[in-house]
């Protein structure tokens, strides 16, 4: 049982929601799917007076845009998967959503934007959105703004959200590319230890223009342009050289109870190579 005298709000519009957030500031939180917030309240990890549920605001749709798709703040993984077809690079979202830990229940409850706001380094979504050069849409009292995903994730569990602001959705472009997703986790119910999202332009065997975004190996998603690694034909060097290069890019690796930073550094290159192989259909 939650021990604090929590007050539940389900505002009908964004104006009311942002006003509540602004008024109650650090004593309030936004409720998306609830898969992170609710158990943290039950455990007593978070002490809040107000929870603001987005369910009545109408942010539960996936829609097509001129260059891709927009995912509303209340869209669950299951709803996203039902919104097929995924085209071009947006297939990365499909690959990640299909493999979300926790089975069908969590895929029906958890939301893409909830994962963005939580910004757990060991989660799938932040790095996938950085790989897709997604844009995060925010609404605050009397204003709206949009932030590139790469700039939105400031640190572990820290995002560029200002007082009274909430996420209304994300947009991703459907540029033509081959994509590959690889996730390493050591148990079925575990958070990822390392993820890699590969985006390879449609150009045969060449990796010219390819990027790989690593997740769960550092506090923020790490987007790597492979250009410095490639030979004149756009091919990778030997595996050991790739792994050394990736390790050198990593800086301070993410370290938690699931895996020490040194382990994450060791596997980062392997995970990157496997994502590229999947993108190339190997």
């Amino acid at each position: 049982m939650i021990r604090t005298a929590l007050r539940y709000h389900a505002p009908d519009d964004l104006g009311e929601a942002t006003e509540l957030l602004h008024t109650h500031e650090e004593r309030a939180a936004v409720l998306g799917g609830g898969t992170m917030l609710v158990p943290s309240l039950t455990r007593g990890d978070r002490d809040l007076d107000h929870v603001i549920d987005l369910r009545r605001i109408g942010l539960g749709e996936v829609s097509s845009t001129a260059g891709g798709m927009r995912i509303g703040a209340s869209v669950s993984y299951a709803r996203l998967l039902a919104a097929q077809p995924f085209t071009g690079a947006t297939r990365l979202l499909q690959l990640a959503a299909e493999g979300i830990t926790g089975g069908p229940q969590i895929r029906c409850q958890g939301t893409i934007c909830g994962s963005v706001a939580y910004a757990n380094p060991s989660s799938d979504v932040p790095a996938v959105l950085v790989a897709l050069e997604a844009v995060i849409h925010l609404r605050g009292p009397g204003h709206s703004r949009a932030v590139p995903a790469e700039a939105f994730f400031l640190d572990a569990f820290t995002v560029d959200l200002r007082r009274g602001e909430l996420l209304t959705g994300v947009t991703v472009g459907a540029r033509s590319a081959r994509v590959g997703y690889y996730k390493l986790k050591l148990a079925e119910g575990s958070w990822p230890i390392a993820t890699a999202s590969a985006v390879v332009p449609d150009a045969g065997d060449s990796l010219i223009g390819a990027t790989v975004t690593l997740g769960a190996v550092s506090a923020r998603p790490l987007r790597l342009d492979l250009a410095p690694l490639l030979d004149g034909h756009g091919r990778l060097p030997a595996a050991a050289d790739v792994d050394d290069w990736v390790s050198a890019q990593l800086g301070e690796p993410w370290d938690d109870e699931l895996a020490p930073g040194d382990y994450r550094r060791m596997v980062a290159g392997v995970v990157l190579r496997r994502a590229l192989q999947r993108a190339q259909g190997k």
């Binding site: 049982m1 929590l6 409720l31 299951a78 830990t101 069908p104 229940q105 969590i106």
Partner: protein, 180 residues
């Protein structure tokens, strides 16, 4: 020294609470709950539907699974007020007329139950799987059940039960599962 008599704070002021209406197992229910109550707590304590179990309270084990507006959810992750107006099916709702649901029958006949604690998650996850795929591979079955932890470690017979439920569904393609 003077003593001031403490003022008694009405419970309503101390703990936000509300009337909650939802349809549970085809029956309209109105209960009074505190805003901080979890859906699983209201189902078990107010509505006395003990087939929904409390395991981890962390979204890991799946023992508290119910169908909420047709989708399987872990009810320990749902604040009760968020279920206002919802249609909920608990494990009891699958056998309202005392005939077991075909998925329950498959589990019964294939020893999918041991202690039965994890059964809400296993049954509802199976229903979700078979609603979209009546011929799943073992890998697909294990993936569909991944959000449920069997403390008896009886996974092999659970997988066999899902296989049998799928076969039964293929043999009776016109059959509509209860609540779907």
């Amino acid at each position: 020294m003077s003593h001031t008599q403490p003022t008694e704070t009405p419970l309503e002021d101390a703990v936000p609470a509300r009337e909650l209406s939802m349809t549970v197992n085809d029956r309209l229910c109105r209960v009074r709950c505190e805003d901080r109550h979890l859906l699983v707590e209201v189902l078990r304590e107010q509505l006395r539907l003990k087939g929904t179990h409390i395991g981890c309270l962390n979204g890991d084990c799946g023992a508290c699974t119910v169908e909420l507006n047709g989708e399987p959810v872990k009810s320990c992750l749902v604040l009760a007020p968020a279920a206002e107006g919802a249609e909920i099916t608990t494990l009891e709702g699958l056998a309202l007329d005392r005939d077991l649901d075909p998925v329950q029958i498959a589990f019964w006949e294939n020893d999918g139950f041991q202690c039965g604690f994890c059964i809400p998650g296993q049954i509802f996850a199976t229903r979700r799987l078979l609603a979209g795929n009546t011929d799943p591979t073992d890998a697909e079955i294990r993936s569909a059940l991944a959000g449920n932890i069997c403390r008896c470690t009886g996974y092999q017979t659970i997988v066999e039960s899902v296989r049998a439920a799928a076969a039964a569904r293929r043999d009776a393609p016109d059959h509509v599962e209860k609540g779907t």
